[in-house]
Subunit: 349 residues, 2 copies
DNA sequence: CAACTTAACGCAAACGTTTTCGTGTTAAAA
DNA sequence: TTTTAACACGAAAACGTTTGCGTTAAGTTG
């Protein structure tokens, strides 16, 4: 159970000073070839590695980035992490994960835990509760201390920071247009209540698509679910609402849902009612996850390129971290929009 | 862009020494009430928080644990992380994530990156490549430096460390017995090649169940897929193999698959061949994920309680970290077995 | 031979804490 | 008045690095 060896121990063992050892290992030409060789050999033998914590303290730089997300058991978010991890590792950074579980206080606590020197910057997607409370003091405080933040997906426009978003409006508009050009006349929308920014935008895209094709939107074709509570729990409620929707609107021939699960539920109910997909009803969902790919019929979806979002966010953050030189030039913040892509599968034609 | 305030700055500002400030903030009775109040008020005003890195260096303890997993875009692993994060946070620890992507070298590099002081201990599940190469030097080296490791799910018996596993054998045996008692006479197995420990055990469970019910296993009913390459890629190959299986063995009335995707593929093929589930063929899978729950028909699976595995692993690790006092008493390692549970859904009866 | 350069190394500060051990002041006890 | 004890605080070491600068000895130059 020998502890990791330190410079001091090497120095004592070889009867030189600590600085000599340090310089020798960094191949400084202040040190003679002889001693360098001796020290390097010894260090290699004992598998010396500089202590990261000491380095962090000295350099005031941890080479670690924190990522705060609402939940991790979620295809989209785990894909984002995967992207972040990927470029972070390649650029010499570690990733430390915090989960808010959609709770405001956990988000705040998590950020405070990490903001005290543990990391160099944040990548985050804000929780639903934070979006509702509209309390953003923790973001401002963090940034005022010189710690950069990159927000992704669920962002807030009031905060000045780098952002990576998806064009929710355009993505859903495209999807609905696809339904229209495929012959749908009566398209229903299954969405969430409005306080979540992305849900709002997707609803708007739906409306714009209808408008541009001179189709009058009907209120009874729009189903707004309350997703404050975990939606898995309310699956039954969802399904019965959808069934109601179908039964009172026999003309429905297309469905656009703002997430995978809503779309799948719609398909399930449709099948139960004896409707064929995509012959009688076409379905398109938002968010491309495992469910869409492996459902039968497989689901046409709007892909958000989650991994690419993570990669972009990580690059933005690290770029910012690595050129903090300009003290006076006004800091500028970018907003990168990741293009969505319609992945066509069996649920549409 | 004011940096975070330090003890030194407070000391200078209030014209006292650094140690006085430190003691005052920790409410030491060495300091007079007056100065304590003054210092605490000042610290609160400037929102002083001790620098974590400095604390880590001083205490030789980072209060951070590292978790290395093969991939994160995977229901099982993200559930485990969720469990780890949960107890870690409650016990005052942070979690830093490393992905091996099933690669030996990435696993080694990731561990080396973290082992140099960044974390206090590891929780990990080894990559497929490591399992094949059977090269475990990085685990031994890490542990010989006094850094504890907890392995979960994919463990290696040669290594002496804490482990959290699932009773793969018993779990799959139960599942197959369930099929038998539900009337299945001819049960096929869809599994992976043998080098992955868990696949091997699940196969064994299948065989034992058959044996105990006096059913002779037939080689032609066992389909062994090569999953070294990403299985999503080989989905087509999988399906055609399963189709072949069905066509050459018309008697099959039950399927046990060692993971979700295999089970889903089997259901898909069965339906394509006009077979009804669960009337003609019953299907049970291992690993309870989103796919199983939302498939139609929903899939009966063996749940591994992934979150609980993560929680258990984290508790084991932190327990070990927080009682390193006994220097001589022989260190002992626990292996916790998490009971599996058969989640009955529509694909069986 | 005196003055100067150069090579090779050590000292010490710094990063931000905590904590042990002084030390000076004041008040109480002898 | 002298001794003692309590009180309130500061100095310094330690955690493990890196680095600017000082120092020594040898060698070089005029």
């Amino acid at each position: 159970m020998k502890r990791k060896i330190t410079l001091k121990q090497i120095a004592r063992e070889l009867d030189v000073s600590i600085s000599t050892v340090s310089k020798a290992l960094r191949n400084s030409d202040e040190i003679s070839e002889d001693t360098k060789q001796k020290i390097q050999a010894f260090a290699k033998l004992y598998n010396y590695r500089p202590n990261n914590i000491a380095l962090s303290l000295k350099n005031r730089k941890t080479n670690t980035i924190g990522i705060i997300i609402p939940e991790i058991v979620h295809h989209f978010f785990s894909m984002v992490i995967s992207g972040v991890e990927n470029v972070a590792n390649n650029r010499g950074y570690n990733v430390i994960v915090g989960l808010s579980n959609e709770s405001f206080s956990k988000e705040v606590i998590n950020m405070e835990m990490l903001a005290n020197g543990s990391i160099d910057g944040f990548i985050l997607s804000i929780s639903k509760e934070t979006q509702q409370l509209q309390d953003y003091h923790h973001f401002n405080e963090t940034m005022s201390q010189g710690m950069p933040i990159v927000m992704f997906d669920r962002v807030v426009s009031d905060i000045k920071c780098d952002k990576v978003i998806v064009d929710d409006l355009k993505g859903s508009k495209n999807a609905v247009e696809k339904l229209i050009t495929s012959g749908c006349k009566s398209i229903a929308l299954i969405t969430t209540k409005d306080y979540v920014s992305v849900g709002k935008l997707r609803t708007q895209g739906y409306l714009e698509a209808l408008h541009e094709h001179k189709i009058l939107p009907k209120a009874e074709l729009i189903l707004k679910m309350d997703d404050t509570l975990d939606y898995e729990v309310h699956l039954d409620a969802l399904e019965s609402e959808i069934e109601q929707l179908f039964k009172t609107n026999k003309t429905i021939d297309g469905i656009f849902a703002v997430n995978e699960l809503y779309a799948l539920s719609a398909m399930k109910v449709a099948r139960k009612l004896g409707l064929d997909i995509p012959k009688d009803i076409q379905v398109i969902g938002f968010t491309d996850g495992v469910l869409s790919k492996h459902a039968t019929p497989s689901l046409t979806t709007v892909s958000q390129h989650a991994q690419q979002m993570g990669e972009t966010a990580a690059n933005l953050l690290i770029d910012k971290l690595e050129k903090e030189f300009d003290a006076d030039t006004e800091e500028e913040f970018k907003t990168v929009v990741i293009a969505t892509e319609l992945i066509e599968r069996e649920s549409s034609r």
